[in-house]
Amino acid sequence: MKRFLAAACFTVLTVLSATICIAAPGTIKIGALFSVTGPPSFLGEPERNTAKMEVDEINAKGGINGKKIELIVYDTTGDATKAVQAANRLIKEDKVVAIIGPSTTGESMAVLPVAEKEQIPLISCAAGSKITDPVKKWVFKTAQNDGLAVAKIYEYLNKKKISKIAIITVSDGFGSSGREQLKVNAAKFGIQIVEDSTFGPKDTDMTAQLTKIRGSQAQAIICWGTNPGPAMIAKNVKQLGIKLPLFMSHGVSSKKFIELAGDAADGIILPSGRVIVSDVLPSSDKQKKSLIAFVKDYQKHYKTEGDHFGGHAWDAVMLLKNAIEKGGETPSQIRDQLEKTQNIAGIGGIFNFSPTDHAGLSKDAFVLVQIKDKDWALVK
């Protein structure tokens, strides 16, 4: 009996001590949910780094309307359960006025009902189009819809008169969303998917799938995934001596991919945000200024190149800052102002929100790039 009571007291105490938290007066609290660890850490880590960097910068310049921003980041490890717990904590415990993230579509879909119920604006950094389609009152997103990237590739294929393709997608949230969009949009562009295969995020050899593709009628291969799988595929394609043109998704538009795939990366074409080609953009490009600022900053702080995943968080912070400056700092003021966002150039593209569109980007958010001599080149 005594033992049980002691244990119970212990538990309660730990819980209580966890919830004690002191808020600094005169700050605006913004919450963030990123999968800093776990399988999607390739998204969460640059997102957290970027968000922190940008908030520090805003605070260094005096904050928003004279108030400092306090950014509270929780790690969700890619797990929907943890994401929901963390969202509840941000809203009910930390009393944030808005939430940035989560990083993946799955987590975003899990957190979405919480945001709606508690009436807190949420700016997701995930790409899945179902996050904002149909439109939810409190939910926005900054990552470009996968459908836009798919359209960019399909347009190019049409131009090159290629109509039969094979797709190979990773079996996680990113890949399955891409796979869905590839299938949905194919008919519209008169493209036929003759081979549809997948690979696991931790697979180390995809020659089996590629051998099957080699045996099919496909005239091109589209691979949808994030590192390291696609690099493996590029190498396997080379090993098998497959001569078909290889397309990748924006999931690998970072120097890391070129480093991993080595020589095998040469010639691969992919849609990408403008980040990686910021220096070769024409100076008339509206995004160029913010892109170059972001890339430089990130390089300075974290010693590696900023990528467009970090860009999603950058855009989210920027949009929030903008909304708070113009609208006010209560959740509903922020939401209303976010919806009025027009023509703001960020990292991912130019944002135009409206009551019927909470995704805000057009397919011009993407450019097609080709890998040449271990560097990016714009495809005209």
């Binding site: 009996m1 033992r3 049980f4 009571l5 002691a6 244990a7 119970a8 212990f10 538990t11 309660v12 730990t14 819980v15 209580l16 001590s17 966890a18 919830t19 800093v36 660890t37 776990g38 399988p39 980041v73 929780y74 790690d75 890619g78 797990d79 929907a80 359960t81 943890k82 929901v84 717990q85 509840n88 904590r89 809203i91 009910k92 415990e93 993946t104 579509t105 799955g106 987590e107 879909m109 899990a110 979405l112 009902p113 119920k117 899945g128 179902k130 079996s171 996680d172 949230g173 890949g175 399955s176 969303s177 869905e180 997948t198």
Partner: protein, 324 residues
């Protein structure tokens, strides 16, 4: 009879504690954590029946939990079935399925059993990911309704808290009855010496399979509760990691201890909240905890507290007198 009374008293105290807790505790966020503590308690309890009492490891329980969640979720979100009926179907299907699979699986022992259950968990996880048309694939299944009675819907934290803890208390009461019965004794006997148990007339094989099915069925109910509370499910919550987490809850709480399961579940659910301060370091703390608990507190918290207390007392006593 004294033993019976103290058991009942303990249970009533726990029930009162749970009843009052939301009124004492911080509103809002803590309540949400306590909802998950409840779900995890049911899961730890279910696994403890198998692992702690019958001594059979399962590294695939997250799979059964997930099956419960997905069956319930799909039936209600896609086929608009009543959530209660869906929960019943989920529990029955998982119980029957695990009963059938249990016969070949529980023939295995030790690491072979660990591997087989792990394999089961992985297969179930892959199905969640790949059967996109039904499960929604890696990005999950949304639009699952809350449980409701008439027009009263369990859609707030406080309502879910009482709903889930009602289930947890029932599960605790039933488990307490079970472990103090001939079945409970037979399970522990199998754990200690399977041969001797069989000679005493315990059908070890059948008993193990039955408890495996019961454990899986209970996990499925927890899964169903989870799905209707979260209103969303995705595969990442039901992977190998979560199976290990469940085993950890049982070990840390105390093998073959019903209340220990509660402690383990509470600690492991609250711990990540505390560790948020550490961010990237929590995985290390987690691994260390698993090792240290197994090494120094094999009885878990339920037995470890008194153990540690008496250890400290003797240590302290020794120090006050000159070293002998």
């Amino acid at each position: 009879m004294r033993f019976l009374n103290s058991e009942i008293l303990k249970f009533i105290l726990l029930a009162l504690f749970i009843l009052i807790l939301p009124h004492v505790a911080h509103e809002g966020y803590l309540l949400n954590v306590l909802v998950f503590v409840g779900i995890h308690s049911i899961l730890a309890l279910a696994l403890n029946l198998l692992l702690g009492y019958a001594g059979q490891i399962s590294l695939g329980h997250a799979g059964f939990f997930g099956l419960g969640a997905y069956i319930s979720g799909i039936l209600t979100a896609t086929y608009s079935l009543n959530p209660w009926i869906a929960m019943l179907i989920a529990a029955s299907v998982v119980t029957l399925l695990s009963f059938a699979v249990g016969f070949p699986v529980l023939k295995l022992k030790g690491h072979y059993l660990a591997m087989a259950t792990l394999g089961l968990g992985v297969i179930i996880y892959i199905v969640f990911n790949e059967a996109v048309d039904y499960t929604g694939g890696p990005s999950g299944l949304s639009g699952i309704p809350n449980l409701s009675i008439g027009t009263f819907s369990f859609d707030t934290d406080i309502r879910n808290y009482y709903l889930i803890w009602t289930f947890a208390l029932i599960a605790i009461a039933l488990s307490l009855n079970l472990v103090h019965s001939r079945i409970g004794r037979a399970l522990r006997a199998i754990h200690d010496s399977e041969v001797a148990a069989r000679v005493m007339g315990v059908n070890a094989r059948l008993m193990k399979v039955q408890i495996f099915a019961l454990s899986a069925g209970l996990s499925a109910i927890a899964g169903s509760l989870y799905a209707h509370t979260m209103t969303f499910v995705s595969p990442a919550s039901f992977g190998f990691n979560f199976s290990v987490e469940l085993v950890t809850m049982v070990i840390i709480g105390g093998l073959a201890s019903i209340y220990g399961s509660l402690l383990g579940a509470a600690l492991l659910t609250v711990l990540p909240e505390l560790l948020r301060a550490f961010q990237d370091y929590d995985i290390i703390v987690y691994g260390l905890l698993l090792i240290i608990m197994t090494m120094f507190m094999p009885g878990g918290l339920a037995k470890g507290f008194p153990q540690a207390a008496s250890y400290l007392r003797t240590r302290f006593g020794k120090r006050s007198s000159p070293d002998a």
